[in-house]
Amino acid sequence: MPGVAVVTDSTADFAGTEPAEFAITVVPLTVNWGKDVLRDRIDVTTSEFYERLRTDREIPRTAAPPLGIFEEVYRNLLEQYDAVVSVHISAKLSATYSVATTAARNVDEGRVHVVDSATTTVTLGWLAQAAAELERDDAPAEAIVRKLRDMIPRLRIYLTLDTLEYLQRGGRIGRAEAFLGGLLSVKPILECHDGEIHPVERVRTRAAAIRRVAEITQQLGRKERIAIAHSDCEEEARAFAAEVARRESIPSVPIAELGSVVGTHTGPGVLGIGCLLAE
């Protein structure tokens, strides 16, 4: 009898790997833009998305996947598997977790295990990947969930934004709100942990901001994993990855591009780094 199916959502990024390699099911969030309803990573490629974001005056809105989609996904998977482990973007950043929990209750609460990752993007990708790897080793769903809960507090994301415009209009600033703005131009450095975006510091220029993200990361100590995420600034991301690899004394650092849902809230020009701290 086959074991456990792993589900995540489209805000997960897979730096250097693909979800297909691990048989991970990815449920897309949607971007509602004018009359268009775009499924993240299915109906719109990232380059198309950022191109439109720069030119279209209409503001896109993001939405969690519909309840029916989650129910369908869980039902189909439970026909083939014993159980489902479904790990999602932080409940403080999106309604996705809440929708998934409702769907699990409607389908089979005992067999669908929904986990709040308290993160998103590359670090969420690692959780899904870790779940899939454990499944390969025949771990039961409960053991997989325990492992994810152990990893979650050790995940960190630091990032800098090129512009505050998108974060402000999207309303996903959380605790960072009072920290942003101001009369002089600044580049904020933000942190995601415990499921929320926290302000870290502000510097006057992008070059200084990128350097600070690398420095802060270096000061975190030993790490099990590290990856770079960016939105529409691949060249800078490559240079940044090389700099981080040098500081961390590792051969290379994988790079992922943020999808359209996270990109809606950050805009282009995000450069961030995800870490899994050593135990």
Binding site: G182, L184, P199, R202, T205
Partner: protein, 551 residues
């Protein structure tokens, strides 16, 4: 004014509470009349001297509080000390407040002051004044206080009367003030005596006039001699960063060269040893740079690095519960750090506020009172507070306010200018403690350089720079670098001094009397010289038409 021995003096041999009250009021009047004359004793040729005002306001606060106190000597003296402390403005005001507190301490348990007690009290006051600054400098109010006290002790031991003792103290103060330019080259260059010392002399004179039954009257005394340099009184950064000691060996080590290198990195520089083995000591924000220097010159033998910031917090935490407290409303404080910033000019005030800082509004010069800073600290919504004085002259008041803010963890990051203050604010993280914030904030501030340009209201010599009346001059990080006719040229000259600096962004802050066109001209100069982004903002500062920060 010279006070000659006066045979018509009232035969006061003992001073009780009522006399102390009356003499303080008279001295406050007298000092107030000399306020402008003392303000004019400024080493910089811009009208921002405020020592007279600061000392006058401080003494007035002491006299007012004494006025409201009960009759006994002890109680009036305690009220005087309390009033001075809460009303203290500027470095000179804080030093004066400490001096008065020392005097009050010595008067505890006494019904009346005689010549001997007066002399002893002046001595304790002088010692307390030295204790108010972390790095006492001679040729300032401190020297004047000590020499007045020494003269009083000598007189009282020789059975002088109370008034004779006061006269001798005042005469010694007068001589000490006249000699300050010999002790502080910056005073000599500017052709002035020390303003804080002169303020103390005037205070003593006011008390003496009162006891001799002479009127202290009203109306300003004309501006005579010129200057101030209260910002020399304290090296506020001495408590910051890391106390770094390195013992290293090498060949042909040169003590002078090493000392000069260290002086670039920090304060309290010591280098002792010989060409083969050297021990160095420096207080710096960059202990790594000291080690780099040592390894470059030879081999490191031993290293000791202490974080003085943490040591000082431990000390303050132990002392704080005993301080006078102002009950904080039963408001819930959020964990994390708020910022209090002293700012001058509407534009700067708005900029600090736009980043969430609570602003202490300075009006003419950077001279907020201890009470104003304390009020701002207590207004903030977080458990921890970082205070940015943004001027050397506000640093002591900030520190005093920090000591008195019970129930909050307060750290002063001694920013020397508003641009440095802005750099520090931006580096602050609201969700961590003041202690954790202090070092990155101080580091960010130190990476910011600032250029001030202004028009001279009189001819002066500052350092190596001669300024003619009506000419414009520039300072870089507070030191004069050039004088001339055009602001862009001066900014360019100042930028030339900024070697070894990787500049990333510059900001031109337009002063109250500056113009946007002028700022744009300066911005063009910076862009063509450094090839970096330049932002223009409204600062609204008086005195300096433009202020430029380079980060």
């Amino acid at each position: 004014m010279d006070v000659a021995p006066d045979t018509s003096a009232r035969s006061i041999e003992l001073v009780r509470g009522a006399e102390l009250r009356a003499s303080l009021a008279a001295a406050a009047d007298w000092l107030d009349r000399h306020r402008e004359a003392i303000d004019a004793l400024n080493v910089f040729p811009v009208p921002d001297g405020d020592t007279g005002l600061n000392m006058s306001l401080t003494l007035r606060a002491a006299a007012d509080e004494a006025q409201a106190a009960d009759g006994s000597l002890e109680e009036v003296a305690a009220a005087m000390a309390r009033g001075a402390l809460m009303g203290a403005r500027g470095n000179s005001g804080v030093i004066l407040a400490e001096l008065l507190r020392g005097i009050a301490r010595e008067l505890e348990g006494h019904q009346a002051v005689d010549a001997r007690l007066l002399a002893r009290a002046l001595g304790v006051g002088a010692t307390a004044a030295y204790g108010a600054v972390s790095n006492p400098v001679e040729g300032t109010i401190l020297t004047v206080a000590r020499r007045a006290a020494d003269a009083a002790l000598e007189a009282a031991d020789g059975s002088a009367s109370l008034i004779e003792t006061l006269e001798r103290a005042h005469e010694a103060a007068r001589v000490a003030v006249a000699e300050t330019p010999e002790q502080l080259p910056i005073l000599k260059q500017a052709g002035v005596v020390d303003s804080g010392g002169e303020g103390l002399r005037v205070l003593l004179e006011g008390i003496l006039l009162h006891f001799k039954g002479e009127p202290t009257g009203s109306g300003a005394v004309p501006v005579g001699m010129r200057v101030d340099f209260s910002s020399l009184h304290a090296k506020e950064d001495d408590f910051y960063g890391y106390c770094t000691e390195v013992l290293f060996q090498g060949e042909g080590l040169k003590q002078d060269a090493i000392r000069a290198r260290l002086a670039e990195l920090g304060t309290c520089v010591l280098a002792v040893g010989d060409s083969g083995l050297m021990k160095v000591h420096v207080h710096t924000l960059r202990p790594g740079a000291v080690l780099d220097m040592a390894t470059e010159m030879g081999e490191v033998v031993r290293v000791k690095i202490d974080n003085m910031q943490i040591q000082r917090q431990g000390f303050e935490a132990a002392v704080a519960p005993n301080r006078r407290s102002k009950p904080d409303a039963t408001r819930m404080l959020e964990l994390g750090t708020s910022i209090v910033a002293v700012a001058l000019g509407a534009g700067f005030q708005e900029i600090f506020e736009s980043y969430g800082a609570t602003v202490v509004r300075a009006d003419h010069t950077m001279n907020p009172s201890v009470q104003e800073i304390l009020d701002a600290i207590l207004q903030t919504g977080r458990t921890d507070v970082v205070v940015l004085p943004n001027d050397p002259n506000a640093a002591l008041a900030a520190r005093q306010a920090a000591k008195q803010a019970t129930g909050r963890a307060v750290v002063v990051v001694p920013t020397e200018s508003m641009p440095r203050g802005i750099a520090a604010v931006l580096a602050a993280s609201p969700e961590v403690s003041a202690g954790v914030n202090a070092t990155p904030m101080a580091e960010a501030a130190s990476r910011c350089h600032w250029i001030e340009v202004a028009r001279a209201i009189r001819a002066a010599r500052m350092g190596e720079v001669d300024v003619e009346k009506g000419a414009v001059f520039a300072t870089l990080d507070g030191a004069a670098v050039a004088a001339g006719q055009s602001y862009p040229d001066l900014v360019e000259a100042a930028l030339e001094r900024l070697t070894n600096t990787e500049a990333e962004i510059a900001t031109v802050f337009i002063g109250r009397d500056g113009s946007r066109a002028g700022a744009e001209e300066i911005a063009r100069t910076i862009r063509s010289r450094l090839g970096i982004d330049v932002e223009i903002a409204v600062g609204g500062q008086p005195h300096h038409d433009y202020l430029v920060s380079v980060e």
